[in-house]
Symmetry: C2
């Protein structure tokens, strides 16, 4: 039996569908950890792949890397995380997604009624002044994608 079959950064990057630079960045941000070879090169455990999957999923839900770091820090340090651990972390996303969907739906419905009038009043229009959640962030609150925009996605 060999040691732990550790992955060099390029291989991990390939398997995770990320650029090596992203992995170094994640490491600098405290999202993942690595051991080093005698010569100083990074070697990753397989478990990091699952962590990266979590990171990606969390990003899709709209969390910042800092929020993700914080969530990951609640995992048990000793034993390796179980399914239940991961499930606990992702459970809280549900409500967040529900909120987001509700906000979008409200915007869409406001749009439907606005199409008829073409008003776009700064004060009254549901489109330019969506819901209270938005208003709380202040006027000019923009929200939403960044992907799903025409801005051409960058590839790892």
């Amino acid at each position: 039996m060999k040691g732990a079959d550790l992955l060099p950064i390029g291989e991990l990057a390939h398997r995770a569908g990320l650029a090596p630079s992203a992995l170094r960045y994640y490491e600098s941000a405290g999202l993942i950890a690595s051991t080093r070879t005698g010569g100083g090169q990074r070697r990753y455990e397989r478990a990091v792949l699952r962590r990266l999957a979590f990171v990606r999923a969390a990003q899709n839900v709209g969390l910042s890397l800092e929020e993700i770091r914080s969530a990951l820090s609640t995992l048990p340090a000793q034993r390796s995380p179980t399914r239940a651990d991961w499930a606990r972390l992702s459970r809280s996303w549900q409500a967040r997604l529900d909120e987001q969907i509700a906000g979008l739906t409200q915007l869409r419905d406001g749009l439907t009624s606005c199409i008829g009038c073409g008003c776009l009043s700064l004060k009254r229009c549901a489109l330019s002044n969506p819901n209270d959640a938005m208003a709380a962030v202040g006027p000019g609150a923009r929200f939403l994608p960044s992907v799903l925009r025409r801005t051409s996605g960058r590839q790892a």
Copy 2:
């Protein structure tokens, strides 16, 4: 009857709920236009308020300023835009919002089924690998808010 009752930048900013710096920025980005006084100060027509309302609404739907600029450029140059003009522009947002809601809903439903398993497989999990639309943008495609994040909204 006086001339055209033009607004200086501070007043327009106040009425639109934006910072003067944002208005200068928008002007530099080709979203709005101004005339100048003899001394070089900006004076805005009232119609600019409606344009700004459109900009804000479009941002809420997730469009970039460049996309908004492009949309605004399809307005008639001669006559001032009618309700129908504005309605035409906003009609296309409907589909966009529908897509976004669908994507989010899919993500949420994937989450619901994933909570049970805690799998987070990079290849198979609906959470880390949502829908095809996402896949088209490439692995690691993140999407969503930016507002609704803890990042503390900045105020005009």
